[in-house]
Symmetry: C2
Subunit: 341 residues, 2 copies
Amino acid sequence: MGGDHGPSVVASGVALALKLVAPDVRFLLHGDEKALGQEFARRGELAARVEIRPAERVVGMDEKPAQAMRRGKGSSMWNAVESVKTGEAAAAVSAGNTGALMAISKLVLRMSADLDRPPLVVGLPTPRGVTTFLDVGANVDCDAERLVEFAILGEAFHRASYGIARPTVGLLNVGSEEMKGHEEVRQAHAILREGRFDLDYRGFVEGDDLTGGAVNVIVTDGFTGNVALKAMEGAAHFMRSELRAAMTADWMANLGALLARRGLKAFRERISPPPAAPLLGLNGIVVKCHGGATDRDIAQSIQVAATLAQSDFAAEIERNMRKLPAALADSGPPSVDGAAE
Amino acid sequence: MGGDHGPSVVASGVALALKLVAPDVRFLLHGDEKALGQEFARRGELAARVEIRPAERVVGMDEKPAQAMRRGKGSSMWNAVESVKTGEAAAAVSAGNTGALMAISKLVLRMSADLDRPPLVVGLPTPRGVTTFLDVGANVDCDAERLVEFAILGEAFHRASYGIARPTVGLLNVGSEEMKGHEEVRQAHAILREGRFDLDYRGFVEGDDLTGGAVNVIVTDGFTGNVALKAMEGAAHFMRSELRAAMTADWMANLGALLARRGLKAFRERISPPPAAPLLGLNGIVVKCHGGATDRDIAQSIQVAATLAQSDFAAEIERNMRKLPAALADSGPPSVDGAAE
C-alpha cells in the first residue's frame, strides 16, 4: 500500500518483477483487499504467482515511527514484516514510511548485530560499477565495534547484490596526514586490518572515493554518511540545473542540447542512485524502496530482495559476526599514530 | 616562490592584481632574489608598487609541517608571515605547502581563538552566490566551543569577502528527525540560538544546503567537513566525466557538444570552487592559494587578502569572541531533545 503513488504502482511493479526474478518466486501482497483486488482485475498475469493478504489498516507516510510501532499491528507493513518472521516469506519489500518500516522491522525481527537500528545503505554510481555506502543516517554515534559491523554487513550485501566474489572494503577518513580521523575510526581500522574476518579490508579511503570506485564497500558513521550523501545529492542537483542553464543560454547551445539529448538522458540515469535499500542487521531480509518509486523502482527492489533471499548472505554475516567479540577483546586501545602507515 | 608553477606565475599574478586592488596597495615579494629579479625585468609595471625581499631558502611543496617549522626561519614563506607580525604587511598570500603555511602562521602569529589550528575554509558555488564552509579538515575533533568559534570566524569572513552586511549562519546536521546530531552539535546549537553573538544564526542545515544556498555560512567539524567537501568534489568529477562520455557517444551528441561548448565552459567555471582560502583565527591575515594556481588564481587570492585587510573583519571577530566565555558558562548541558524544535 506504500509509497507516494499507492498500491497501483506497487502492483504494476510486481507485474514487471515477474519477468526479472526466477519463475518460482511467488508474492504475498499485503494491503486493502478492495484496492488490491482492482489492481488484480486489471493485471491477469498476477493471479498465478501473487496472493492477496488483506490488512486492516495502512501506516501513513507521515506517521511517527513510535506511533507506527504502537498502532502498527495488523497494518499491511507490519504483516509483511511478520510474514518474514513466520518464514512464510523469504523477504519483505516496502515503499512506505522509512522510519516506521525500520521501527516495525526491529520490533518484529529483532537486530542480529549489536546495533541500535539497521544502518541505511545506498548504492552510489562509479565509473566501474556501484559503491555500497553505509551508514547514511540511522546510527549517528558509532563506536569502533559498530563500524566493524557495518563492514561485515555491507560486504555480504555487496557480494549478494552484485555477484562480486570478494568485495573490497574501505573505512572513510580524512585526508590530512597529520591527524587522521578520530579515535573510533582509528580503532576500527586497527581491528579490521588484523585480518580476523573473512573480508578484504583495504584501509582508509576519502570522500572522493565514494564515486571514484576505489573499493566496493565504504563504511562510516551515520552522521558523516548522511552529510556526505546529501552533499553529493546537492552537488548533483546544482550541477544539473547549472548544466540546464548553460545548455539553454543561446540558440547554439539550445540546438546542441537538442542534438545531445540522448547522451544527456543516459547521463541523468547513470548518476541516479539505485532505488532500493536493504535494512541490514535484522534477523530477516527487508528492502526499502524510496517513497517516490515508479513501477520500475518497485521491480528493482523486488529483484534485490529476491537476490538476497537466494544468496548465502545471512550465513556469511553470521560467520563474521561470531568473530567480533574475540577481535574486539584483542584490539586494545588504539595507538595515537595508528593511522600513520 | 610557492605553488606548483613557481615564482613566474606568482609574479604575473601580482601584475594582474595591480589592476584589481586599490592603487595604494603595495607588495612585498619574498623569495629568491635572482628568480624574482628576472620576473621583474620582464614586467616593468611591477617596479613602482612591488619590492623584492630576498630570502635564503624556500619551503618545499613536500616538506612536512614539523620540518618546515624547525627549518623554516629565513624561508620566503616564513618571512612573508613574519612581515604580517611586524606590521610591515597587512596580509600574507602564499600558494605554497599548505601544512607548512599553517604551522608557520600559527607559530609566528599565534592563534587568536582557542583553536588548535586555523579551520580550513572553502567557498562553494550555489545558485545565489557562495556558501562559506568550514572546517574542511584542520580540526578533526570539535567540541561545541570550537563550532561556535567557526561560526564567528566564518561569519566575519563572509561579510568582508562578499560585502553582505549580515550573513546568515547554519550548523550542519543530519536530517533524521528522531536523532538529530551528536552532543557537540546540539550544544553548539543551544549556545548559538541564544542570540548573545552579533550574528544571524538560522539553526540546523543539511548536506544538500552546502550548494543549495540556504544560508551564507555553514559550520561543521573538520572530519565531517573534509569528507563532505571531497564527496562533492568526487561527485562533480564523476558527473563531468559521465557528461563527457554522454556528449561524445554518437555523432549527434558530438555535434551537440560542439554547439553547446560555450555553455559547457561557463558551466565548468561556475562549479569550480574559488582558489583562495583564508587561514582564520590567527592574529593576522594569511590567505592560501591552491598549489596548482594560475596567475588569475594568484590575483584573486591577493584580492581576497586586500579585501580582508581593508575590512573591519579582525575587530568584528574579536568583539564576538569576547562574548564566548559567558555564553559557554550559561549554556549548561544540552537537552537530549534540544534539536527537536
